[in-house]
């Protein structure tokens, strides 16, 4: 046999990306063989090389797409407001939403950096740093304006990112809490963490008042 009926390059490539994310998120990059991946796609291993010259090219493509998607999502979600508290809330909410929606690619992007070559590693890290810089800017602005109380901006930014990225470790979409409820609780924790004053907090709460009270009894435990 050779070309199969109904075969389509674009569809196959998309299927490869999707299957690679699922398998690599579960078993890790090194543990996923090209043959196992091909089998999941329903194709022979050699066919993968039409779309990705090497296994590492595939990994890099997945990671770059993830990081660029994250940055794009933030650019789209970034509020017009210059209020640091509102911007921080938007940053956290966007981050949590994005990472829950893309659990597989998040796992791959966070765990498999060591499998990239030097050049590609630094390319990904550059994107990551650019994304994190936005958070540091928010924290710095908030601190200078006196609405946030942050000791060490770099350290606090890392702490926040680690905390809100950690959602994907335990969150399962079909369980106790909805994305909105989780986001709500993490927003509260983040605001406390950065010492957002009661004014800032209340301003935020008012905007999402419906959610807050709607889910209040579910959050308790």
């Amino acid at each position: 046999m050779a070309r199969t009926t109904g075969s389509d390059g674009e569809k196959t490539q998309a299927a490869i990306r999707s299957a690679a994310l699922v398998l690599m998120a579960r078993h890790g990059y090194e543990a996923v063989s090209m043959r196992a991946l091909a089998n999941e796609v329903g194709v022979q291993a050699a066919a993968l090389y039409r779309y990705f010259p090497t296994k590492e090219d595939l990994l890099f493509a997945l990671m770059r797409e993830h990081m660029e998607g994250l940055i794009s999502a933030w650019e789209a979600a970034r509020p017009v407001s210059t209020d640091p508290v509102a911007r921080l809330a938007a940053y956290v909410a966007n981050h949590i939403r994005f990472h829950i929606d893309r659990r597989h690619s998040t796992h791959v992007s966070n765990m498999e950096l060591r499998s990239l070559s030097r050049d590609r590693l630094s390319a990904i890290l550059k994107l990551r740093t650019a994304y994190e810089k936005a958070l540091r800017t928010i924290l710095r602005d908030g601190t200078e304006q006196g609405v946030l109380a942050v000791d060490d901006i770099g350290l606090t930014a890392m702490a926040i990112i680690q905390m809100i990225t950690g959602v994907i470790v335990w969150f399962r979409p079909d369980e106790r809490l909805s994305v909105e409820q989780v986001t709500e609780t993490y927003l509260t924790m983040t605001m406390r963490l950065v010492g957002a004053g009661h004014d800032g907090n209340r301003a935020e709460d008012d905007k999402r008042q419906g959610n807050v009270h709607e889910h209040a009894e579910l959050r308790a435990r």
Copy 2:
């Protein structure tokens, strides 16, 4: 050749464990071959099998030792005080200290769970759950006594653990901050996160007053 002069089973086993932690933390479990590990130890691959029947046995031994060490460290560091704020501070400080001291085994234990068989995975998770339960107990006690303000105990416990474990991602012992300074800042963030009242906070600060003021200018940035 066969047995080498000065060879010693205990020393070899320790060397294997240590080299395995370093290599697996850097390259990942799957990417470290038994031959590469043996080469790092200065021995032939077959010699490894005298100490660990399979590669997975080695991984499991490293992980179990890590988790048991973490639990032991906490049992030793656990304060006599029943004050939830003091216990929380001790928990965070012990956690950060332990993870910075054992960065390699932390990386392995956090990243390579997927390479364990079902039984061994659940054995490790059992230890992890037991360790995390201590934190949840502290948060629950503090909330019931009214000295902490925690919305969702399980969720907050996960957030705290993810935040304070994340230290190892960026912390380098020879850079800007010392372990004590990092711990200090993370303690402040944790206390804010759980809404520890000013009483609780000040009681904690007083105990570590020397450190606080000594490093105040270094923390600013």
